[in-house]
């Protein structure tokens, strides 16, 4: 693999954003360029993924400064996989945005900021440097601040105040953790830190750094006592924005957990317990929160929280089966959560409301659409053989293997409540008789918009549903990839070797 390819998923999104900046007022052209560019991005990241799968871990040193002095970009299976999923979700949301986001928002730079957000996500997944990871996190949150406030409706601003404060606080805590780690090891390269940290005498300080990372990433990935900003803000921006937030932003936190707690703090019993406890509480409280909500977007927001717990629990258990479960859940969840928010946007366009009381009668009016919506909803529950089923097998297996029955109980509880919630949403949106309430007058509903726009609404949902179906029916392939990632995470020697001693430089 040509190492330069690792740069391209990041660089291409930047170039795309710059190109879009030159088309500032030409909204129609921006739509076309964004969709075309996102398609190219999918091709690029698919190339990176297949080549990484074939040739093993690829690294590139920025400015040719050898590791651990320079900034390394590392493309291992996990990173390139997440880049691919980001590009797929990005393509779907780009198509959906071109139909659903209002022209006024597009005129104020929606698409350029959206693509810089994707650049930040790709950068965060690919970097092998702790401080660089912080910088990418900042790129991500700055773009997400713009996207969440763009339009400045009252509810958007109110949500943004909480979103902004908590995310900024998370960055500050993350930076504090970096400072402690730098003070302890004198290095910022993840692979190098991983070696150095073992020699630190003062384990107490190492544990403090670990807890700081736990809190910093915990706010970002919405773990139990730190998630209240999420349901307060994710339902306020347009659905396309919620989709990219719900699908990807919290998952960056999960990715950071996976990297940091396998590479740097592997085998720390205290952190393991902390993660497992927080995850159990996340699952339970997220599921209960979703159960009582009536706003469709808020239901999905709480479900994000609930299912973050599923992933964190795997990291906490820390066996190979558990990691495999976490990774395959991550694959499934990015696709399904993005899709669910797109579905919420579609339902909003069809019925003019997202309150479970006012929507209904979808099956009577649009039977095919209802069938389409069934795919992400039932994948979320994990009805076999759909995509949510397979990761749960690994997670349940890991919980029984390690005899952690609290975890098993929480997983079952979370799954059952998800089933109940999905049944509730399905009954309310699809089967129930439509309520007599009329949609707001000024809104242009789904059957009044042009056929092309209707296709743009449905196409991304079809795309992501197909990916979901592939994850479900091609489970053997996905499980194999997840297993490979899990083996890499359990034994990070290959990662360290690839970063510190790339081919040509012999290992000591």
């Amino acid at each position: 693999m040509s190492p330069q390819l690792i740069f391209w998923p990041v660089l291409f999104q930047l170039l795309l954003a710059v190109a879009l900046l030159f088309l500032w007022r030409k909204v129609q052209v921006q739509r076309a360029v964004s969709i075309a560019g996102s398609t190219v991005a999918v091709v690029l990241s698919a190339a990176l993924f297949t080549l990484t799968l074939r040739d093993g871990i690829g690294t590139v040193q920025a400015g040719n400064w050898p590791a651990p002095f320079g900034i390394a970009l590392v493309s291992d299976t996990l990173s390139s996989l997440l880049v691919l999923l980001t590009s797929l979700a990005g393509l779907a949301v780009s198509v959906f945005s071109s139909a659903s986001v209002t022209g006024a928002r597009l005129k104020f730079g929606y698409f350029p900021v959206f693509h810089i957000l994707l650049m930040g996500l790709n950068g965060a997944f690919l970097t092998g440097d702790l401080f660089n990871l912080y910088v990418w996190f900042e790129v991500i949150i700055i773009c997400s601040f713009v996207l969440i406030t763009l339009g400045t409706e009252r509810k958007q601003l109110e949500g943004a105040v909480k979103y902004f404060t908590l995310n900024m606080l998370a960055s500050i805590i993350f930076l504090t953790a970096i400072a402690v780690i730098y003070g302890l090891t004198g290095s910022l390269n993840l692979a190098d830190i991983s070696i150095q940290i073992a020699a630190i005498e003062n384990r107490f300080l190492v544990e403090i750094a670990a807890v700081l990372f736990f809190v910093g990433f915990g706010i970002k990935s919405a773990v139990f006592p730190l998630y209240f900003w999420l349901p307060a803000s994710y339902h306020t921006p347009p659905d396309a924005v919620s989709a990219i937030f719900g699908g990807l932003l919290t998952k960056v936190g999960v990715y950071a957990y996976l990297r940091i707690f396998t590479l740097i703090f592997a085998g720390d019993a205290f952190i393991r317990e902390l993660l497992v406890t927080a995850a159990i509480l996340t699952i339970v409280s997220g599921a209960l929160g979703a159960l009582i909500q009536n706003n469709l977007r808020k239901v999905f927001s709480y479900l994000i929280v609930c299912h973050i717990g599923f992933m964190i629990v795997g990291i906490g258990l820390g066996t190979e089966t558990a990691y495999a479960g976490t990774v395959s859940y991550l694959i499934h969840d990015i696709v399904v959560k993005t899709n669910l928010f797109l579905v919420a946007g579609l339902i909003f366009r069809v019925k003019g409301s997202v309150s479970l009381r006012d929507i209904g009668g979808l099956y009577k009016r649009y039977p095919w659409l209802s069938l389409l919506i069934a795919v992400p909803l039932f994948s979320l529950v994990g009805i076999p053989p759909l995509s949510g089923f397979w990761p749960k097998i690994s997670l349940f297996g890991a919980a029984t293997e390690t005899r952690s029955f609290w975890v098993l109980g929480a997983l079952i509880f979370g799954s059952v409540l998800t089933l109940i919630i999905v049944a509730k949403v399905w009954a309310a949106a699809v089967w129930k008789e439509p309520s007599g309430k009329n949609p707001p007058v000024k809104m242009v509903l789904f059957d009044q918009i042009s056929k092309e726009r209707r296709i743009l609404y449905v196409l991304p949902i079809v795309l992501l549903s197909l990916v979901s179906l592939y994850i479900g029916f091609g489970a053997e392939h996905i499980q194999e990839i997840a297993g490979r990632v899990a083996a890499d995470l359990i034994n990070p020697d290959a990662y360290i070797e690839a970063v510190l001693y790339p081919a040509g430089k012999s290992s000591p």
């Binding site: 105040v161 404060t165 504090t176 400072a179 730098y182 003070g183 909500q293 009536n294």
Partner: protein, 117 residues
């Protein structure tokens, strides 16, 4: 010097957290600014601080003789300052706009998005 900086860092963190916990929007920004400065000072402290030992190799030799200051934390702080500068200016605009729309600066009253609907 180290002790003084450590105490300052502690004061900045404590004051920042205290300010964040107040209910006013303006105090919220001040709290975030203080915390941002506190973390910058912490990074500065975490490198090896050497008085009068700039990390510059003399023209005549290939290595630096004696202890020298760690330049990396300063590069890190510079990056962090630029980022927090951008974020803080965004925060001020956001909170001004929020004040204009919501017409209150009491954080306890900015809660309609949390209400059960």
């Amino acid at each position: 010097m180290h002790l003084l900086l450590a105490i300052f860092t502690g004061i900045l963190y404590a004051a920042g957290i205290y300010m964040i916990l107040r209910r006013s929007l303006v105090k919220l920004i001040i709290g975030l600014v203080l915390l941002g400065n506190g973390v910058n000072l912490l990074i500065f402290l975490m490198g090896s601080l050497v008085k009068g030992g700039p990390p510059i190799i003399p023209e005549a030799s290939k290595v630096i003789e004696g202890p020298f200051d760690d330049p990396i934390p300063q590069a890190l702080i510079l990056t962090a300052i630029v980022i927090s500068f951008g974020l803080q200016s965004f925060a001020i605009i956001l909170l001004k706009r929020t004040y204009q729309v919501v017409k209150t600066d009491d954080l306890d009253e900015i809660n309609t998005t949390d209400e059960f609907a």
